[in-house]
């Protein structure tokens, strides 16, 4: 009996081993890593006659590990990735197939981290282009996306990162940097899609803009053989003087208009505002911060405010939400009323004037001045977007969903019409909690 059991067990083992050797050694979906071309960044521009121009950069792993050699050195190239390739097709899927007419390995989107959307595509409607992508199994909804004022293709060409060598790492870093600066929003495509599909909400997108002056400087430097303008490989002296290159007198937070010299020609500042899936306008860096404050998405960020007591001086504060903003909508009133209560807290990080803002009375004056500034800017932004464009990127309607019993009631509500004359009231409460590592300001005797 025992012997019989052992024999059965051995026989079962043999069957399992044979089966595993047949089914476990490979299958139809076996793909060698050496046979794949992983797209790490994709740009979309509108072509003529309803076509789409798809630009990709493909990872070149051998360059990631090693130095800067190889065939892909030159203009518009990061280490670890190919030169930008552009192909025109009717659909993105078609473009990926056509790309394989020139790329020797199978194109895959498995490692795609970022999509750059050209302005013309964004204006026509993102879903026409992005919608079909969502059905593809290679594609993930967790990719980052940026709107590029101008052409996405150009962005690939001029990009010269200051630090990052890997294109994937660059893409991931720029999608996160907005959390620290508050100058741009941080979004994944999944968020764009669910907001677009929902009723009475509008998505936003971070903006990557090309600073034409810095680009020009980089090109001049390149033609003079003085490096490429970016951080990496910027050997030699930079061409152009400060007076010429930074001729604008003020401080700018506009996408592509930051007054600066050197560095990457690309700027990570500003927000694209959509009406459903169509781009309607851009916000600059400061307006983006207001947007984030209203939405309750502002992380700790540094901001400059004019000194209320000494003209021409500025005080720097690090601001964050003390608690999530409270938003109340009165949908019954005509016009509808939107009330927002914000509670912020700040750290004094830089005092330019000679006034001692660690003294309680002065601190209250500074707080009141900042509260007033923020209230005015936020209300102005909301009024502009509501009245001029009837867009709702502030998450206001999210709070109103509970006002309706059924989906039908919600969809019937003419929210956009009501936005035309909506009344907005924002109450900002700010407490300066900390004052840095110094009490009274440094003064000379």
């Amino acid at each position: 009996m025992k012997k019989h059991n052992v024999r059965r067990m051995l026989l079962s083992l043999l069957v399992v081993t044979l089966t595993a050797s047949v089914f476990g050694t490979g299958c139809y979906d076996r793909v060698e890593l050496e046979g794949m071309a992983f797209v790490v960044g994709m740009g979309l521009d509108k072509g003529p006659d309803n076509t789409v121009d798809v630009t990709v950069r493909i990872a070149v792993p051998s360059e990631m590990a090693g130095g800067s050699g190889g065939g892909s050195s030159g203009g518009g190239v990061q280490l670890g990735a190919s030169r930008p390739l552009t192909v025109r097709a009717n659909t993105i899927a078609g473009a990926l197939t056509l790309l394989n007419a020139t790329v020797e390995r199978r194109i895959s989107l498995l490692h795609l981290t970022t999509i750059f959307i050209g302005e013309d595509v964004a204006k026509e409607g993102m879903l026409n282009f992005i919608g079909p992508l969502v059905r593809m199994r290679d594609f993930r909804r967790t990719v980052s996306y940026f709107v590029v004022p101008g052409e996405a293709r150009e962005l690939f060409q001029v990009n010269q990162p200051v630090l990052e060598k890997s294109p994937s790492r660059f893409n991931e870093s720029i999608s996160e940097i907005g959390r620290n600066t508050g100058l741009t929003v941080t979004n994944k495509l999944h968020e764009f899609l669910i907001v677009t599909e929902g009723a009475n909400e509008d998505p936003v997108a971070p903006v990557l803009a090309i600073n034409k002056k810095v680009q020009q400087q980089a090109e001049e430097n390149k033609s003079a053989g003085g490096g490429q303008g970016g951080g990496m490989g910027s050997e030699g002296k930079q061409k152009g003087n400060r007076q010429e290159m930074m001729s604008d007198s003020g401080v700018s937070f506009k996408p592509g208009k930051i007054v600066r010299m050197g560095g990457n020609s690309i700027e990570f500042v500003g927000t694209a505002i959509f009406k459903k899936d169509k781009l309607v306008t851009y916000l600059d860096g400061i307006e983006t911060r207001m947007l984030l404050m209203i939405r309750g998405d502002l992380q700790r960020t540094q901001m400059d405010f004019p000194d209320p007591q000494e003209q021409g001086k500025y005080e720097a504060l690090e601001i964050k939400h003390a608690r999530s903003p409270q938003m109340n909508l009165d949908l019954e009133s005509d016009p509808i009323r939107i009330e927002i209560k914000q509670k912020l807290e700040g750290d004094l990080v830089g005092v330019q004037s000679s006034i001692d803002y660690t003294e309680e009375g002065n601190m209250r004056v500074l707080e009141d001045s900042i509260k007033k500034t923020l209230k005015e800017k936020e209300e102005a932004l909301m009024n502009r977007l509501f009245h001029e464009y009837q867009v709702a990127p502030f998450g206001t309607f999210r709070r109103a969903r509970s006002h309706f019993w059924t989906q039908h009631e919600l969809e019937q509500y003419p929210f956009r019409d009501k936005l035309k004359d909506a009344k907005v009231n924002i109450e900002v409460d700010l407490n300066i909690r900390r004052i840095g590592v110094q009490l009274a300001p440094v003064t000379s005797k």
Binding site: C27, Y28, K188, I194, E197, G198, W405, Q407
Partner: protein
């Protein structure tokens, strides 16, 4: 009664729950959202309450009648013909359920994980595994369910929790979704997932302490209802009702969406394991039940000779529909619309018949005693 071995309490509980929640990994959550929109998660809740009510009526009957199961009780109360008809109805239902499950499962695997593989390359090993599990019998199958029980619970829990960063609770509003009527009809139709009632009433007599069947029924119904409720709720608040209606593979999609910083992402492959285990266990259980019932109808002493042939029939039928979409349409039109009558209706009908019969017998007994006392 065909010999199928003895069962432990925990093993049967695990088997009955897993056999009922396997559909959560396929398109059921999407169907719930399609039915109820933002209130889709309430449908399992209402269905759970209805099923708890049904079990409150039927459970005590099956727990009280020692060594009696659904078939023997039906035979004793409604007659042999009714019992055989019932067995055929349940067995055919189980086969149809297997047909849609196997087709949707294999199509889902091909769509999401193995896009270049022929469907038979996925289906053949799947059916072989299922047939082997069913052939090993109820005892082995229930132990297998117990082994995977905790893994599946942890895996499902992790899948839901790791999507925390995408959750938007406001998406559960409007609270009534498409309205009260779709919610109520949906709750009625959704009773079909509570296959645990059939598993318990057919195999509960194999328990050493049959009186525990009642508690097991309540526990399993709550576990199943809560699983569907939680998965659908998370699905709705992560994807929004509008997007959830268009996403046929909720667990896979939730797995793909996990993105917690640079290092915790792309985890869906781990969750495919959960998906496969649940599908295999459900298929094996339904195959076992259908062959067991056919064997009972044909008065066969064992069910095993029927396993291979039944699996082959199901395999062939599973390719009858032309596409994944057609399979879902077939499932909604026939299985979902009528299966509540099989899954919940039959146990309730038999339990009610037993109660009537017992009451009648008691009344007759009392009358006989009264007349005996009088004489």
């Amino acid at each position: 009664m065909i010999k199928t071995g003895h069962l432990g309490k925990r093993e049967l509980l695990a088997l009955s729950v897993i056999a009922s929640i396997a559909d959560v990994s396929l398109f059921y959550p999407q169907q719930l959202v399609l039915q109820g929109s933002s209130a889709g998660w309430m449908i399992p809740l209402f269905s759970m309450l209805i099923t708890l009510g049904v079990w409150a009526l039927a459970g005590p009957v099956f727990a009280r009648e020692k060594k009696e199961d659904l078939i023997t009780l039906c035979e004793k109360t409604l007659g042999r013909f009714a019992a055989r008809t019932m067995c055929v109805v349940i067995a055919v239902y189980m086969m149809l359920d297997m047909v849609t499950l196997s087709r949707t499962f294999t199509e889902a695997v091909v769509t999401t994980v193995l896009p270049r593989s022929p469907i038979s390359f996925v289906a053949v090993p799947f059916f072989l595994t299922v047939a082997y599990c069913a052939w090993k019998g109820l005892e082995g199958l229930s132990r297998l369910a117990l082994v995977f029980w905790s893994w599946l619970a942890v895996g499902l829990g992790a899948l839901l929790v790791l999507n925390l960063n995408w959750m938007r609770p406001d998406k559960i509003f409007p609270i009534l979704g498409f309205g009260v009527t779709p919610l109520l009809t949906g709750s009625g139709l959704f009773l079909s997932v509570f296959v645990n009632l059939l598993v318990l009433t057919l195999f509960g007599s194999r328990l050493r302490k049959q009186e525990e069947l009642r508690t097991m029924g309540f526990l399993s119904i709550i576990a199943i209802g809560m699983t569907y409720l939680l998965v659908t709720l998370v699905f709705v608040i992560v994807f929004s009702p509008e997007a959830a209606m268009r996403s046929p593979f909720p667990l896979y999609q939730l797995g793909r969406l996990i993105y917690i910083g640079r290092f915790i992402q792309r985890l869906e492959a781990a969750f495919v394991f959960i998906w496969v285990v649940m599908a295999v266990l459900k298929m094996a259980t339904t195959l076992l039940i259908s062959t067991y019932l056919f064997a009972t109808v044909f008065r066969m002493p064992v069910f095993r000779p029927l396993v291979a042939s039944t699996a082959l029939i199901v395999f062939a039928l599973s390719f009858y529909t032309r596409s994944f979409v057609e399979t879902i349409a077939f499932n909604n039109k026939y299985i979902v619309t009528w299966s509540w009558a099989v899954v919940v209706g039959i146990p309730l009908l038999v339990a009610t018949a037993v109660r009537f019969k017992r009451r009648k017998e008691e009344r007759e007994h009392e009358e006989a005693q009264r007349s005996a006392d009088a004489s």
